[in-house]
Amino acid sequence: MNAVKFLFAAYIATWVIHGIYLVSLVRRFGRLRQQLKEFGKK
């Protein structure tokens, strides 16, 4: 039973890392879109 904790820890860690990376991509997209909007206003 104790070893199963490690299994779930590994699976959760995998998706946490992917999640963090995906959020960083979305935030970078948002920043670039904002810059594009500001650039369009000029």
Binding site: N2, A3, V4, F6, L7, A9, A10, Y11, A13, T14, I17, H18, Y21, L22, L25, R28, F29, L32, Q35, L36, F39, K42
Partner: protein, 301 residues
């Protein structure tokens, strides 16, 4: 293309959910390790995906480096064809077969060798000019994410099975860590260097960094290591249901990696477009300022 992304996202999500179901429910429990062995269904596909992405980065970097001169590009094309032809023939020579680790099929090595020219020409055709550099940075970044997962899930698996989190000095573990560090330094170089040579330097670093990939892969054949022997292509045995689950899991992760790479690629293109627009704006601004600073009589020249 815009419609393809949401469709692929749904397919990928379905594949990942099915792979998870297979990994946790369908795949049988290992007689020695129990359920904890199921970490293999995330650890190994992540490693294979990272290797594939670093290989794409390697090919894109070489293409980028040689594309500066037409003569070099032409010479590189023939070198790559030569590597493919000679490599495949060599794999079936008895003298060379003696050097191939026991359990590894020569046909598997020949297929891997053939992947070099195949990827080289495919990438060159699909990503012409500056897009090669965009592909290089995309594959390196997503590759680092997958390699990070390998380095985190590995110790989590090792703790209950080996009794230790990390085996210091183990060639497989150390070379994987070095690989991760090389590509992190590649990304740091690209992020913080403003030199006009940054792309060239990064491409050169990537070519040398990729040399670590075969070392990581073959280390378990050539050195004594705590890491287990490969279950595919290395003479190891695995329950067919386990193998099936492992391959399904890899397909799901390949779809996921493709989608992430696609997004990152578009992000990099957008970033470069905005940078170019800013540079053009600065140039135009500088031109106006220079004109304004000239005496009135000369401003029309």
């Amino acid at each position: 293309m815009k419609r393809l992304f949401p469709i692929l996202s749904v397919v990928t999500a379905a594949l990942l959910v099915y792979a998870l179901y297979e990994a946790l429910v369908i795949a049988p429990t290992d007689a020695l390790q129990g359920d904890v062995y199921r970490i293999i269904y995330y650890h190994v596909p992540s490693a294979w995906t990272a290797f594939l992405l670093f290989f794409i980065n390697f090919i894109a970097s070489i293409q980028y480096l040689v594309s500066a001169k037409a003569a070099t590009k032409n010479a590189a094309k023939w070198v790559v064809i030569g590597i493919g032809v000679v490599g495949v023939i060599a794999c079936f020579l008895p003298q060379v077969q003696r050097l191939i680790p026991a359990g590894m099929r020569p046909s598997a090595v020949a297929t891997t060798v053939l992947a070099i020219p195949a990827f080289y020409f495919l990438i060159g055709r699909l990503f012409p000019g500056p897009k090669l550099d965009v592909l290089a940075v995309t594959s390196a970044e997503v590759g680092v994410v997958f390699c990070t997962i390998v380095l985190i899930t590995g110790p989590i698996w090792a703790r209950p099975v080996w009794g230790i989190w990390w085996a210091p000095g183990d060639i497989r573990l150390t070379s994987t860590l070095v690989l991760w560090l090389i590509y992190v330094s590649y990304l740091v170089l690209r992020r913080f260097s403003n030199s006009a040579q940054t792309q060239m330097l990064a491409a050169a670093l990537a070519v040398f960094g990729a040399l670590d990939v075969p070392l990581v892969y073959f280390s378990i054949w050539f050195f004594r290591t705590q890491h287990p022997q490969p279950v595919i292509g290395g003479g190891g045995s695995m329950d067919p249901r386990m193998l099936h689950t492992l391959l399904d899991s890899w397909i799901a992760f390949l779809f996921f990696a493709f989608l992430v790479c696609w997004s990152r690629f578009r992000l990099e293109l957008l970033h470069r477009e905005i940078e170019e627009a800013h540079a053009m704006e600065s140039l135009v601004g500088a031109g106006v300022a220079a004109k304004a600073s000239l005496p009135l009589g000369r401003s029309s020249q």
